[in-house]
């Protein structure tokens, strides 16, 4: 931005610079140069002074020299011809007895960034590599990298490269590190500097001599090294152990990055390394610098993806400070959500509740949605807080609460009653479109249970003309349609008005099309409309278990210690809450020992020794399935699972006709499992996870029929891998009898009969002490009978172990 009168200022400066009186007085000369640089850094274009500055360069005053160089490097590209004049002075300075002058000249010679000057620069640079003073060698080494980038197509001088490799043995650690950096740039096309065993060990041995920055650079470059043997790997690891807990966060992060790279095949070692950095990372979270805190928080989020229990005991460290900026508070809340367990949930919710009334609306909304996410595991407590917040009658809070409830109900249908009763009277407080959309969605889903729903809708429809948000209009259409299906008498009139407005007056095409679609749908009859609008809903008694499986480290290791984790602020992956008790108290041992894939031969032994003759399967499978292993990756989301399951269910009819279809097999079995009723979902899930079977959904204990959905991937040495999805179903001895009774009865009072039979049935089980059985339905893709049998035997073992433990 040119300042007013900048031309005058430049003219004035030029006159002063060329004034012989000024030039003879060193202090005045320096001050005039200083003024020129000041003008430059304020944004004035002082490039016209170039020739005067070139003259000012030839001085004995080092301060003035430095100032002139700052100027020359900024404007050299604009005046390539004049810059040629500087080269002479610079080359002369390269012979100066003072090493500081030599290094200064050399550095600025290469900073001019003029390809035309390369031929003059090469000779002093080559001499610089052999200079006595380390500071000159440092500059010369990087100078070669600068030269190379000036002419990237020029041939690489093998002699220089050799000399740079030789300088890796330089006594000065900065020269050594600069050599690595320069070689990395010069040899970029060949994949960077060669990292072989002698170089690696040389670098590692000299690591301690470097400062923090040098260490980080060396550790980063060593990531490319592949140790030749396991012994060598562990030697390197033990050498680096001290850096892993370094008080300097950059060194700690670089070391951990190297650890994760080296141990990509040894998950147990990587996990142990994550344990080690917990202390330093937590310390970085409490650093005085907010930015360091933020960076540490983002990386803790990464670590938690693989080790959910890592920070469990330290959840208080993630409580928000009062004066912290919003971006740190929001990250902390995301971490807190991950750390919830049975013991700290009350404390955590109390803390989060405090943030809900934060002055910053974004922080408040983040806190509310954090409570919502905890609500997936602890729905009652969270709903209590959320409904309490509605009482505040604050716009942004009400909106956030309604949106959160909307999300929560989707995952936990059992909350719907509380949500429905809380909805009354919310609509006046909702001003923003997202909040109103969420409210409409809730009314559509639970309209029959909210008594005031038609009145609320009426209000919306009356104001539809002034409605600005497209999303709200679309949602309004759908809601009115769905409410019409369950409460036709109350809504018929307003639906007519809404459709009329949307079709006749609405300008937006989307809304109009949607309205037309509904209008035509209604013409097809109420049955048809019902079919389209009321799709299949998930079983409300079936709560989805949110416990996300611990991800393998490799999934995020590539982004560790890069800018990526810090940038995801807006589009972060939704952290799921974990409520399972295995995270309650953090116990590092089992986690570190748990390898990613577990060979099931061990289990086989346990099985044979432990329970004899539990099932006919175990004996036969023992010989078949020696090299079978299970793993959890790639992970399957509940939605994908449901999709696969339903798909397979639908095909089942057709399946019977052509049973020999290759890619898919369905198997139904019964396994004796006496422990069902007392078995808690959490302990079952924990047991399953130990052998790498992921459980996805559960009915709550003590409900009938009792269902569990699970999946895993089998890896067979010879046949490749398959996906197995399965359902455990226990309808109870009682209901089975009922079914029989029901069949027999023609028109009796079924409900009553059911209850009676239920009671007697349960009593019978007790009396007989008969073992109960679960029905197992397994589906596999692609078909692999041996693997499936192997899986079934593992499953059987787990269930038996569990029942023997509980009894």
């Amino acid at each position: 931005m040119p300042y007013l009168g900048s031309e005058d200022a430049v003219r004035e400066l030029r006159r002063a610079l060329s004034n012989p009186n000024v030039q003879s007085d060193q202090l005045r000369y320096r001050n005039t140069v200083l003024k020129a640089i000041r003008a430059m850094s304020q944004g004035v274009d002082v490039s016209d002074l170039f020739s005067e500055m070139v003259k000012a360069c030839a001085t004995v005053d080092i301060v003035q020299k430095k100032l002139v160089y700052v100027f020359l490097c900024s404007y050299a590209t604009l005046n390539p011809e004049l810059s040629l004049l500087v080269i002479n002075t610079l080359r002369k300075d390269c012979q100066d007895p003072n090493p500081m002058v030599r290094s200064l000249a050399l550095r600025n010679m290469t900073n001019l960034r003029l390809p035309s000057l390369v031929e003059y620069v090469e000779q002093p640079l080559a001499a610089g590599l052999r200079d006595r003073a380390a500071c000159v060698r440092r500059v010369a080494v990087l100078g070669w990298a600068k030269l190379h980038n000036l002419q990237p197509d020029a041939e690489i001088d093998a002699a220089v490269v050799n000399e740079l490799y030789g300088l890796l043995r330089d006594p000065d650690p900065v020269v050594m590190v600069n050599c690595l950096r320069a070689l990395e740039e010069i040899l970029k096309k060949e994949g960077g500097v060669a990292i072989n065993k002698p170089i690696t060990h040389h670098l590692l041995n000299r690591l301690k001599e470097s400062d923090v920055w040098g260490q980080c650079e060396v550790l980063r470059i060593l990531q490319r090294y592949h140790p030749q043997s396991e012994d060598e790997l562990f030697d390197i690891l033990s050498l680096l152990d001290a850096s892993l807990v370094s008080p300097h966060p950059p060194v700690m992060a670089a070391t951990l990055g190297l650890f994760l790279g080296l141990c990509s095949g040894l998950p147990a070692v990587s996990l142990a390394a994550l344990e080690r950095v917990r202390g330093p990372l937590l310390a970085a979270c409490g650093s005085t610098s907010r930015e360091t805190r933020f960076t540490a928080l983002c990386h803790i989020q990464l670590l938690l993806r693989s080790l959910p229990g890592l920070m469990g005991a330290h959840y208080k460290r993630f409580f928000c400070g009062y004066a912290e900026p919003a971006y740190i508070k929001q990250r902390k809340m995301q971490v807190l959500v991950e750390l919830v367990n049975d013991e700290n949930v009350a404390m955590l919710l109390d803390e989060l509740k405090g943030y809900c009334t934060d002055v910053n609306p974004e922080t408040a909304q983040a806190a509310i949605s954090a409570i919502g996410r905890i609500g997936r595991s602890y729905s009652d407590r969270c709903l209590e807080i959320l409904t309490g917040l509605l009482g505040l009658k604050q716009e942004h809070i009400t909106s956030a609460v309604v949106q959160t409830m909307c999300d929560l109900v989707w995952v936990c249908p059992q909350c719907s009653d509380t949500v429905c009763s809380a909805l009354e009277g919310c609509e006046e407080m909702l001003q923003d479109s997202q909040g109103r959309q969420a409210l409409l969605w809730l009314l559509a889903a639970y309209g029959e249970r909210v008594s005031s729903a038609p009145y609320t809708l009426e209000g919306f429809i009356d104001r539809v003309r002034s409605e600005a948000s497209l999303g709200v209009k679309m949602e309004l259409l759908t809601t009115t349609m769905r409410l019409f299906l369950c409460r036709p008498s109350e809504t018929q009139d307003m639906l007519g008005r809404l459709l009329h407005y949307c079709i006749e007056e609405e300008m937006d095409m989307c809304v109009r099309d949607q309205a037309l679609l509904y209008y035509r749908l209604l013409h097809c009859g109420i049955e048809e409309t019902h079919k389209v609008l009321h799709g299949q809903r998930s079983d409300p008694s079936l709560g989805v278990l949110i416990g996300r499986p611990a991800e393998p480290i490799n999934q995020w290791a590539y982004s560790f210690n890069t800018l990526e984790p810090l940038r995801q602020a807006g589009v972060e992956t939704e952290p799921a809450s974990r409520g399972s008790p295995e995270h309650v108290t953090f116990d590092p041992k089992p986690n570190t020992d748990l390898s990613d894939t577990l060979n099931c031969s061990q289990i086989e032994k346990v099985n044979l020794a432990g329970s004899d003759g539990a099932s006919g399967f175990t004996c036969s499978s023992a010989k078949v399935l020696a090299p079978l292993s299970l793993s959890l990756s790639p992970a399957l989301s509940p939605e994908e699972f449901e999709h696969l399951w339903m798909q397979r269910h639908a095909e089942q009819g057709a399946e019977k006709l052509e049973e020999e279809e290759e890619d898919y097999v369905c198997l139904e079995e019964r396994i004796q499992f006496p422990a069902i009723p007392p078995c808690s979902p959490q302990s079952l899930q924990a047991a399953m996870q130990l052998v790498n079977i992921q459980t996805l959904a559960f009915t709550p204990p003590h409900t009938l029929p009792w269902r569990v959905y699970l999946y895993t991937h089998t890896h067979h040495a010879h046949y490749g891998s398959t996906l197995v999805i399965g359902e455990l179903l226990y309808i109870g001895e009682a209901s089975r009898r009922v079914a029989a009774v029901k069949k027999g009865m023609e028109d009796g009072d079924v409900v009553e009969g059911e209850q009676e039979a239920g009671l007697s049935g349960r009593a019978l089980v007790r009396k007989d002490g008969r073992e109960e059985e679960v029905e197992v339905t397994l589906k596999q893709q692609p078909r692999d009978d041996n693997a499936l049998k192997g899986f079934l035997s593992i499953l059987t073992t787990v269930l038996h172990t569990l029942s023997s433990e509980s009894s």
């Binding site: 430095k66 100032l67 920055w213 980080c216 980063r220 670089a254 009334t357 890069t562």
Partner: protein, 427 residues
Amino acid sequence: MISQVFILSSQGDHLIYKDFRGEAGSDVVSVFYEKVTALTGDQPPVVMSHGDLHFVHVRQGGLYWVATTTSPGSSPFTIIEFLNRFSALVKDYCGSLSEKSVQMNFALIYELLDEVVDYGYIQTTSSDVLKNFIQTEAVSSKPFSLFDLSNVGFFGAETQQSKVAPSSAASRPIQSSRESEIFLDVIERMSVVIGSKGVVLKADVEGEVRVKCFMPSCSEMRIGLNEEFSIGKSQLRGYGAAVRVDECRFHQNVHLDEFHSNRVLRLCPSQGEQTVMQYQLSDDLPSAPPFRLFPTIERDSGGRLLMYLKLRCDLPSKRFVVISALSQELSSPDQSAELKLQNRAIDWKIPRFIGGTQLSALFKLEVSGLSPSSLMEVGPVVLVFELPQLTVSGLQIRFLRLSPVQPAPSQRWIRYVTHSDSYILRL
């Protein structure tokens, strides 16, 4: 790999701009400022990107310190630590960090940058190395005057006055000082959450021992900590009241050979400021938190909100504390209170608070549409304070000795201070 480094004032004035690799033009400075100011909320995120260029910035002294890089694989820890270290260097050399001091010393800062970073690679940030290269003298915005040291006893005499180090004495350029002085500061930051029933929910202390050395060359220095100082839960030392911390980290130049036996740290401090030791203590504080609050909140008949706050300071008496309690008739004339509508907070300022005493305040608030649930919105009370000459953990410096071969007699200052990082009292 750093592409450019620039410093912006909070108004967006370009103070310093240096391009190391020629990968992007100087127009990105304005792009950065637009991005920073366009965002709502109190603080923009640390990392922002513009095309291929990534901006990483920190805020120090009210200025934006920005580094740009083109490789997304750069370590954020390194860049942020570098920017912090660079600003600390500027502070050391210019005396203080402000827009004015940066503007006045731009030549010095360019010189520093030139030595610290070459071609985007960090060369060195050690002041021991840099002092050989830096030639420009710092321009101090406030001339150094003897009046600053008026409360220091002559010839370092141990007067009662001289036990208090001059607060501004440490903030001057390290080069300019002719005195050979060493400041040793023990700084602790408390973050405490006290529940509505007076139960301490969380109490953390982060502490550090900092040395600021004005001597151009300092030989060995020995710092003695309390002998009862212990790390971790299990091991307790001595017979007196134990001083315990959970974790402790030392600067890499600290020699710990005498630490295990005598709790003595040995180091050769370089010129400028450095953190010798950092420690933290969670949950298990040796003493009760220094302040307690007894609030009463009710609605009066006229629809007003009455808040009666009684604040008690449990420190040993005769200690003075500067407090400003944020969030909520005052008992003494030198206090003041102000309603800040923007933050929806009441700012209650207490210039001096004597240990063992109690202060109270009554606030009457007119709230439109007061409902029972409005009471839920009140709070928390946040205390912002500074406790001089006190460490919550009990850490004390037993002695600070310089090796006898010191060229000139030196002034040594030991200062203790405890800040509130976040002292929250729930209502």
